[in-house]
């Protein structure tokens, strides 16, 4: 009996190692993160890796099928589009753009969303009500519709599209931050910190916020996927990236006419969007399992 009580583990694993172990146990998440790392590397090195300039038109080589099919050329591994641009090069540069979109959108909505959420939680009363009702109003509209409205107001273009998607995603961050902050505020350590004389700002940023981070990381990862998907949707509607910028959604919409006759023009950008979004979602799921102690047990 007493032996069992005394059996203390030799070494308590650090939090990070423990997290990694529990994350690595999720195969899908692990594979997905590897895919994402490769994708990010490819995107960063796009101008080196890509065989051609993504906007150069090889007018003698229009609508070439992928290299392994009859009529394909090795110079264009995934074929060319209807005005002779190399699809592989466009996809690689498109990856750059999509990942950039993800980062910028998530950063904007995360920063603004968290700030608003914390303010709402700490100040309460009228400020809280005002912020949260505005967020509720934003949540009422379907995401894409709201994004289209925002783009219609500020004009089409890649940056405006990102802004639109960021606005769409903001409420989820705000609500999440506010909820976690309210929960933490009732804890003893916050009261202790407050009675020790910590100011409101210190409490907000140094005491409470670090303890709200876990759900935000998950939301950010999932948001990344949504951002790419929404930006692609806006691109598809002609409201996002403007030609000749290679962007996955725009590539899709431009090639829709070739669905039946030149499948490679539609399939590859579609597959890229699919794989990236699935990977981000799986990584997000994996992170949630690892970070949420309740689910872990």
């Amino acid at each position: 009996m007493s032996d069992a009580i005394l059996a203390v583990p030799e070494k308590i694993p650090s939090r990070a190692v423990e997290l990694w172990k529990s994350f690595a146990r999720n195969r899908a998440a692990l594979v997905s993160s590897v895919v994402l790392v490769v994708l990010v590397l490819l995107a960063i090195c796009a101008s080196v890796v890509a065989p051609h300039d993504p906007i150069e038109q090889f007018r003698k080589d229009i609508l070439l099928p992928p290299a392994w099919l009859e009529g394909g050329k090795v110079a264009f591994p995934l074929g060319t589009d209807d005005i002779g641009r190399d699809i592989l090069s466009r996809l690689l540069h498109g990856a750059q753009l999509s990942i950039l979109i993800g980062i910028i959108v998530v950063t904007i909505s995360l920063v603004v969303g968290c700030a608003l959420g914390l303010v709402a939680a700490f100040f309460g009363g009228l400020i809280d009500t005002a912020i949260m009702r505005v967020m509720d109003i934003l949540l009422v509209f379907p995401g894409l519709v709201l994004a289209v409205v925002v783009v219609a107001v500020v004009g089409p273009g890649l940056f405006n599209a990102m802004l639109a998607v960021a606005i769409v995603m903001m409420p989820s961050f705000t609500r999440l931050t506010r909820a976690s902050a309210l929960r933490e505020l009732s804890r003893e350590y916050v009261s202790a910190s407050r009675s020790a004389g910590a100011g409101r700002f210190h409490l907000m940023v140094r005491t409470v916020f670090p303890n709200c981070v876990a759900p935000l990381i998950i939301q950010a990862t999932l948001g990344f996927a949504n951002a790419i998907l929404d930006a692609a949707a806006l691109g598809f509607l002609g409201l996002g990236a403007q030609p000749p910028t290679p962007e996955w959604g725009t590539m899709l919409s431009g090639s829709l006419a070739y669905l039946q006759s030149a499948w490679w023009m539609v399939t590859f950008p579609g597959a890229c969007i699919l794989v990236t979004v699935i990977c981000f979602n799986l990584v997000g799921d994996g992170l949630r399992d690892a970070l949420d102690p309740k689910l872990r047990r």
Binding site: E56, I62, D82, I83, G84, G254, A257, Y258, L259, S261
Partner: protein
């Protein structure tokens, strides 16, 4: 007992529903966009004519699938030797359609013809301002020409013109000169809803409007009183016509394959092979009288400088665009008049692709580094421009080589036309089809001015006195040889001054299911659906 009845009723109903299509034949056409209005007088859009052509009739019509003028609501006509007085004998016993708010009490007569033309031409007519008074076709074709329009008797009207107009009878076959009911107009005015004459059309044609649901469908049903039902080629041979609005060409083809529609308008070039390979489908081809071009905003720098325009023209690889974007069999052109019509100047060639020369010209004009402009791309496929966006991307790449950075701008089709007509584009992509078989028609509307004021569709605001002189001369004489001579000279002037760049002349294709019988590609104006039938 009770339970039994409950079971039988739905089965019986389902049986009725299933057998219904066999009784009433419905011809479904997958079309590319919304009609911009339901009034033939207020449009120049082929999509709209496709609808109005089947609701209304004109005094004279173009034969189906051809270029000959045939009798419509006028049975016969005579022209004075000086081509200034035209008398039309109207068909008797032509019935008007009715709708929820209107039931006709009389047949079509001279009053309706006079109402139709007076409304568009007479600024003091009570209906002139209804709907906005922007009668683009009338302005282009007839404005200022009609000195007097008289009712000789109930079934005879006489037009007296200011200037001899050789193409007058032919021009009345334009879709916009569809005869509208004067009685309907009177009733609607009395009811306080005059705009109904444009929104709830009442015609004499083979089909009457059931409903128009934006972005979804235009539904029409056979009009039993239609006068043409007695003539085999003119008769309505299906009970209902539905235009399904499907802006995406591949969606139209997919629907065609699935049997959701019988005719798919404007199939995409990439799908031609698939259509030919499918035993259930047919690719119908026909000639087309078209003009496809980009325009320059001549009032603004840098386009006011002819050297800049010439440079931009030299920088476009037209051959490549024709090959990649246009339909098979299309050719580059330097003449405004298409090969299907007389009066074409075959000696004119487009400017050769020569980026070096273009650069030199730009430098000479003071833009050695190029400049930034917008470039408008048509959002939908038309026979004269199958893929505007791709064409724009090719021009963008070509111009980038001489330092001209073009930003591609595009809008939904209705909005696009509106903004192009508002002169918002620096470089606008547009084009058109001839609505009736006379070489002067489309050119007059798109490149001439009235008393120094550009016509609505003359979007680059190009008023050239020499060109105008030739065009006016050609329209006022009746000798075809002489007219052709003037048109050829006019085309030369146009090419020399470069108000725009012609992109090519195309052909027209439609896709249909095999069970569609006797469907013909229409080279001019809207596509009529009378005479078309469905095999079982």
């Amino acid at each position: 007992m009770k339970r039994n009845r409950c079971l039988v009723a739905p089965i019986f109903a389902a049986g009725l529903f299933l057998s219904a299509p066999a009784v009433a034949s419905t011809l479904i056409v997958c079309t590319e966009g919304n009609p911009d209005t339901l009034s033939p007088q207020y449009t120049t859009s082929g999509t709209t004519y496709d609808v109005t052509e089947n609701i209304y009739n004109k005094l004279v019509m173009v034969e189906r699938g051809g270029a000959a003028i045939v009798p419509g609501l006028a049975e016969t006509w005579t022209a004075s030797p000086d081509a200034k007085v035209f008398e039309f004998k109207l068909r008797k016993g032509v019935k008007w359609q009715s709708n929820k708010t209107f039931t006709p009490t009389r047949d079509m007569n001279a009053d309706d013809v006079i109402f139709t033309f007076e409304r568009q031409g007479n600024r003091d007519h009570p209906f002139h301002k209804v709907g906005g008074a922007a009668y683009a076709t009338y302005e282009n074709v007839l404005a200022g020409k009609i000195a007097k329009l008289e009712k000789v008797d109930d079934y005879t009207v006489r037009f007296t013109l200011n200037v001899p107009t050789a193409a007058f009878v032919g021009s009345l076959s334009d879709g916009s000169f569809a005869i509208m009911s004067a009685e309907h107009a009177d009733k609607m005015l009395k009811a306080g809803t005059p705009d109904q004459i444009d929104t709830a059309p009442v015609g004499t044609g083979p089909f009457s409007l059931v409903r128009f649901q934006r972005d979804t469908e235009v539904r029409m049903k056979k009009f039993p009183g239609y006068w043409g039902n007695a003539t085999p080629d003119m008769a309505a041979k299906v009970d209902n016509v539905v235009y399904l609005i499907a802006p995406e060409p591949s969606v139209r083809i997919a629907k065609l394959k699935a049997g959701e529609c019988h005719i798919a308008r404007y199939p995409n070039m990439p799908d031609f092979e698939t259509i030919k390979a499918d035993p259930k489908l047919e690719l119908v081809q026909g000639p087309v009288a078209d003009m496809s071009y980009i325009t320059f905003k001549l009032k603004e720098k840098p386009f006011s400088d002819k050297r800049v325009r010439e440079a931009l023209a030299h920088a476009i690889d037209l051959e490549a665009i024709n090959k990649a974007v246009f339909f098979p069999g299309s050719k580059t052109t330097g003449s405004l008049v298409p090969p299907t019509l007389w009066g074409r100047n075959d000696e004119l060639k487009p400017r050769a692709y020569d980026p070096e020369k273009a650069k030199a010209l730009l430098a000479e004009a003071g833009y050695p580094e190029g400049f930034t402009t917008d470039l408008w791309a048509m959002p939908i496929a038309r026979p004269y421009m199958p893929n505007g966006r791709r064409a724009a991307e090719m021009i963008q790449a070509d111009w980038a080589k001489i330092g001209v950075k073009a930003k591609i701008v595009t809008y939904e089709w209705g909005e696009y036309i509106k903004r192009i007509r508002n002169r918002e584009a620096s470089v606008g992509m547009t084009g058109g089809m001839w609505d009736f078989p006379d070489p002067g028609h489309s050119i007059t509307g798109r490149w001439t001015c009235v008393e120094g004021k550009p016509r609505p569709n003359n979007t680059p605001d190009w008023c050239n006195a020499d060109f105008q002189k030739e065009m006016d001369a050609a329209s006022q004489i009746s000798d075809q040889e002489q007219r052709a001579k003037h048109y050829r000279k006019a085309q030369e002037i146009w090419l020399a001054d470069i108000p725009g760049v012609l992109l090519g002349n195309g052909a027209k294709f439609e896709a249909a299911r095999r069970e569609v019988k006797d469907f013909k590609v229409q080279p001019f104006g809207g596509t009529p659906l009378y005479g078309v039938s469905l095999a079982d």
